[in-house]
Amino acid sequence: MENQLAVTNVPFSVRFMRAWRRDKLLWLLITPGLLFVLVFAYFPMYGLVIAFQNFSPYKGIGGSTWVGFAHFQDFFQSSDFWRLIKNTVLISLYTLIFGFPIPILLAIVLNEINTKWFKRVVQTVSYLPYFISVVVVCGMIKDFLNPSTGVINHFIELLGGEPIYFLTRPEYFKPIYVISQIWQTMGWNSIIYLAAVAGIDQGLYEAATIDGASRIKMIWHITLPSILPTVSIMLIMNMGSILSVGYEKIILLYNDATLSSADVISTYVYRRGLVQAEYSFGAAVGLFQNVINFTLVVAANYIVRHLTESSLW
C-alpha cells in the first residue's frame, strides 16, 4: 500500500520508464499471442466494413463501392428473414427448455448415489459423447434414422409401423437436433452442478437427518436452494446465446427438403456468403447476428454481475 502511494508522487514519464524497464521481458513474452489475436480476431472486425460495400476481391476493401445499409435492407425485407429468426430462436429455446434441466437432475441424482464405483462409471460414460466429433455424431444420426437400414426404423417396423423418412421431413429436424444435442452434452454440462452440489455444507444434511427429513425434502430445501445461484448464472448465460445456434451440425444434417425448418442465421451466412460467394451480403447478415449476440451476452453478464456481485471477468 505504502509503495503505491509513493509511486503516485513520481512524474508520469519516470513511472512509465520504470514500468517499461520492469515489464520489458513480459512485453516480449506476450507479443506473439497478442499479435495473433490482433491479426485473426481484430483484423476480421475491420473486415466487417465490406458489409457496407459491394465488395469485390479484385478491388479490395479500398477500391470497392460503398452501398450503405443496402445489404441489411435486402436481408430484412427478404422472405428468408423471419424464417431464419424463427428457426434460430426456436432451436435455441427447445434446446434450453429440454436440455437445461437434465444436467441439474443428473447432478442431484448422482449425488444421491453412494456406490462409489457405480457413480464413477456413470460419470465417465456420461461425459464421453462430448468428445465425439460432430461429424461422427451426425453420421450416427443418419445411420440410425435411415429409412431402410436404420435401427430406429427397424424398431418402428417391429412394432408394426411404417418406416419414417426422418431426415427429409421438416417437422422432425428440430427434435433430432435437440435430442442429439442433449445426448452429447448432458453429462458434460452436469459437471458444474456436481461441483456446486459438492460444495454444500454437509452439516445441513446431518441436521436435517436428525430432524427426520426425507431425502426428497432435503433436496427440495437444501440442495436446490444451494445450487440456485449456479443454476441462475447458467440460465442467464444460455439466454445470452439464444441467437447463436452453431452451424456445424446443421450443415451436416440439413437438405433441400428440411431447409424450411433447419436453416438458421449462421448456416445462411455460410451458404450465401461462402458457398455462393456473396461476401458483402454474408458479412452483413453475420454482422447483424453478432451485434445482437453481443448485446444479449453483455446484458446477460450485467444481470449475472448484479445477481452475484462477481462478473465473468
Binding site: 506473439p32 465490406i50 457413480k119 453420421g139 435411415n146 427429409t168 431425502r215
Partner: protein
C-alpha cells in the same frame, strides 16, 4: 444403524434406475456401431442387428484399411493435432503468464482486448477473406493458425497461474531471476496439470474440427480425417445439399456399405475412446478452474 424410511428407499431406487437408464442411452449408440462394424451388410439391412454382431465378419475393417485416402486423412489429422497443439500451447503460456503477473502495467488493457474477442467477432466471412489475403487458403497453416490462440484457454491458464503462491515469484524476483527464468523454472513445473488440460482441449478440438477444413481446403490430399468422414458418413446418398449432381451419381455407383460406415466411425473415434478414461479427470479439472471465474 440409521433407519431408512420407505420413501427414501423408493427414492434411492429411482436414482439408480435413472443412472442405469442414462448409462444405456449414452452407450447404446456406440455399442450398436461397434456391433454393426463387425456384422454382415445383409443382416444390417434386414434389421437383425440389435446389440451383438450378426454374421460376424472383418470385411468392413478390411475395406477401411485398404482405403488409402482414409489413412492419408488420418496422417493429416495427426499433423494438424501435433502442430496445432504445439503452437497453441506455446502461445497460450506466453500470453497467460504476463497477464498473471500483478506488477505488469498493461495487464488490464490487454485482458480487455482479449476478453472482447469472446463477445464479438468479425464472423466467418471476414475471417475467410483474411485467410485468403494472407495466402493461407488451401495450405495446412489455414487449419492451425487462425484459431491458435483461444482466449478461453488463456483465461484458464492465467487463472491457474494466479493461484500459485505469490511469494515464490516475489522471492525469485528479489534474487534477480529474470521473468523468463521464473516462467520456465518456477511457474511451468508447478503448472503441469493445467498444461495437460490445455493440451487436451486443443488436441481434441483439432482432432474433431471439420469446419475450417471445409471452408479453407480444396486439395483432398490435405483433408483431415473429419472431412474424409463427412464424405463417407454424410455424403454417401444423393439428398445432401452440398452434393453436386455429378458427384451424387458417382456416389450411387459405389454405394458404401453400411458396415463400412460403422467401421470408419470406430476407426476414427478409437484413439479418443482409448485415451479418454485416463484423461477424463484433466478435462473435468479444466471445467473446475474455469468455473472459479464463471
Amino acid at each position: 444403524m440409521k433407519r431408512v424410511s420407505f420413501g427414501d428407499k423408493v427414492f434411492t431406487i429411482f436414482c439408480y434406475f435413472f443412472c442405469v437408464l442414462l448409462f444405456i442411452v449414452t452407450l447404446y449408440p456406440f455399442i450398436y456401431t461397434v456391433s454393426g462394424s463387425f456384422s454382415g451388410n445383409i443382416a444390417l439391412t434386414r434389421g437383425d442387428v440389435w446389440l451383438f454382431p450378426v454374421d460376424p465378419t472383418l470385411e468392413a475393417y478390411k475395406a477401411v484399411f485398404n482405403d488409402e485416402s482414409i489413412w492419408t486423412a488420418y496422417g493429416n489429422t495427426i499433423w494438424y493435432v501435433v502442430v496445432g497443439t504445439a503452437i497453441g500451447l506455446v502461445l497460450t503460456i506466453l500470453t497467460a503468464y504476463p497477464l498473471s503477473r500483478r506488477t505488469f502495467a498493461a495487464r488490464k488493457p490487454i485482458s480487455l482486448i482479449l476478453a472482447f474477442t469472446m463477445f464479438f467477432s468479425g464472423g466467418t466471412i471476414p475471417l475467410y477473406l483474411l485467410v485468403q489475403q494472407l495466402g493461407l487458403l488451401d495450405t495446412r497453416w489455414s487449419i492451425v493458425l487462425p484459431g491458435a490462440v483461444s482466449v478461453w484457454n488463456v483465461i484458464l491458464m492465467r487463472t491457474f497461474f494466479q493461484s500459485l503462491p505469490e511469494e515464490l515469484i516475489e522471492a525469485a524476483t528479489i534474487d534477480g531471476c529474470s521473468e523468463f527464468r521464473i516462467l520456465l523454472q518456477i511457474v511451468l513445473p508447478l503448472s503441469m496439470s493445467i498444461i495437460a488440460v490445455i493440451i487436451l482441449y486443443i488436441a481434441v478440438a483439432q482432432w474433431n474440427g471439420f469446419f475450417s477444413a471445409l471452408i479453407y481446403l480444396r486439395d483432398p490430399t490435405k483433408y483431415p480425417l473429419q472431412l474424409k468422414l463427412r464424405e463417407v458418413l454424410i455424403q454417401y446418398d444423393t439428398r445432401n445439399m452440398e452434393n453436386n449432381p455429378g458427384a451424387a451419381f458417382l456416389d450411387q455407383q459405389k454405394q458404401i456399405g453400411i458396415s463400412v460406415r460403422h467401421a470408419t466411425i470406430i476407426v476414427s473415434i478409437l484413439p479418443i475412446i482409448c485415451v479418454y478414461p485416463f484423461l477424463q479427470k484433466y478435462f473435468v479439472k479444466g471445467v473446475m478452474v474455469g468455473a472459479i471465474k464463471g
